[in-house]
Amino acid sequence: MNLVVNGEPRTLDVEARTLLVHALRDGLGLTGAHIGCDTSQCGACTILLDGRAVKSCTLLTVQAEGTEVTTIEGLARDGELHPVQRAFIEHHGLQCGFCTPGMILTAVDLLERHSDPDDETIRRSLRGNLCRCTGYHGIVEAIRAAAGERNGTS
């Protein structure tokens, strides 16, 4: 099957039952998609599929035929971190880092559709992403700051 991963066309030979997260991690070595709960709760495996955040543990790889996948490894451009990645560093949006790829990719999807989300919208969007160490305060602040930077208001 064929798909585009982080801008590169890739061909994968997978069983129908292979989950996308396993194909990304074991097949392509992209270990940024984390397997946390493995039950579609925690969001650590979140990737962008055609620009929208989805949980790669709850998708069969074959369902991604012909799509464009972005993992956390593909977010930086020309050695420059994505603004959301920078904001997570600057605003203490992570501690152990396990949930971070999923948090950031969900935030990227959110900011694509809401240029200036309020805190409630941010928190509601993160419902499918669990953090078990920092709490969510720094994460929400980082996303607000990334939105502000984009709008030139910070």
Binding site: E15, L19, D38, S40, R52, L59, L60, Q63, R127, G128
Partner: protein, 273 residues
């Protein structure tokens, strides 16, 4: 968790999909947000997955005076659809916005969810309240089943083995109607402990569907007497909520949904004027 071995076919057309469903051990795969989870737990072990994800059954449109929603429309499209901004239809995006989380709403289809028929799912209650019907396609042809007859038990619907849900048809309410969806969710799973969809027509006629409290969603025959009507329902209890508590929650959601639908009637009059 890894699903058991399974064959897979991607349907190129509705006819292809129906042909493949001749296999009695086939299962339809749409967005996969319910099915992949149960495949991983191996609670379901089909021989064949028929992926209908590539079919053109997607989108919200007003056609021939009816609101038609393709079965492969994802939740997020309902949240954003301009056809659903009318206060009389506001319950639909309101209900969709409360389903799962952002990732699930990006991927999960309404047809998949309705056909999965989880007894605590939100949208079924609303489709009943709105008087929606479901278009089912089989090799023999097409039939329309009213929402309230579609849901028959936990994970059990009117769908025949070689039949696909293709479209949800909602009759647009007359100007000056209001709708609302209310639920009280289990805080971890997000599924409804009790939920109610309501539609109030300009003449005051009320229509209510209830979910989460029994084997399948149902219409409340006389919503003006919600408490009395719910008294006759066989409400189930579990370790999250006893039957008595669930019954009270259902009464509360019915009252709240009716009150907000009532408020939206005026807004709808202004909207449609």
């Amino acid at each position: 968790m890894i699903p058991a071995e399974v064959e897979y076919v991607r349907a190129g057309s509705l006819e292809d999909a129906l042909d493949a469903l001749a296999d009695p051990e086939a299962k339809v795969l749409a967005g996969g947000q319910s099915l992949v989870s149960v495949l991983k737990l191996r609670l379901v072990r089909p021989r064949l997955l028929v992926d209908i994800g590539g079919l053109e059954l997607r989108g919200v449109e007003l056609r021939d005076g009816e609101l038609r929603i393709g079965a492969l429309t994802v939740w997020d499209e309902l949240v954003e659809a301009s056809e659903l901004r009318r206060p009389a239809l506001a319950a639909i995006p309101e209900c969709a916005a409360g389903v799962g989380d952002l990732q699930v709403r990006n991927r999960g289809t309404i047809g998949g969810s309705l056909a999965h028929a989880d007894p605590a799912s939100d949208l079924p209650a609303l489709t009943i309240a709105l008087g929606a019907s479901f278009v089912l396609r089989s090799p023999e042809g097409e039939r329309a089943v009213p929402a309230e007859d579609f849901f028959q038990g936990p994970f059990l619907t009117a769908l025949l083995p070689q039949e696909l849900l293709t479209e949800i048809v909602v009759p647009p309410p007359p100007a000056g109607s209001g709708s609302a969806y209310e639920s009280i969710e289990h805080p971890a799973s997000g599924f409804a402990l009790a939920g109610a969809g309501a539609l109030v027509l300009p003449d005051g006629t009320r229509s209510v569907g209830v979910t989460g409290v029994s084997g399948h969603p149902f219409r409340l025959d006389s919503p003006d007497e919600a408490e009395a009507m719910l008294a006759g329902v066989d409400v189930f209890g579990d370790h999250f909520a006893s039957a008595e508590y669930r019954r009270r929650l259902a009464e509360v959601t019915v009252r709240r949904a009716l009150a907000r639908a009532e408020q939206r009637r005026e807004e709808d009059e202004r909207w449609t004027a």
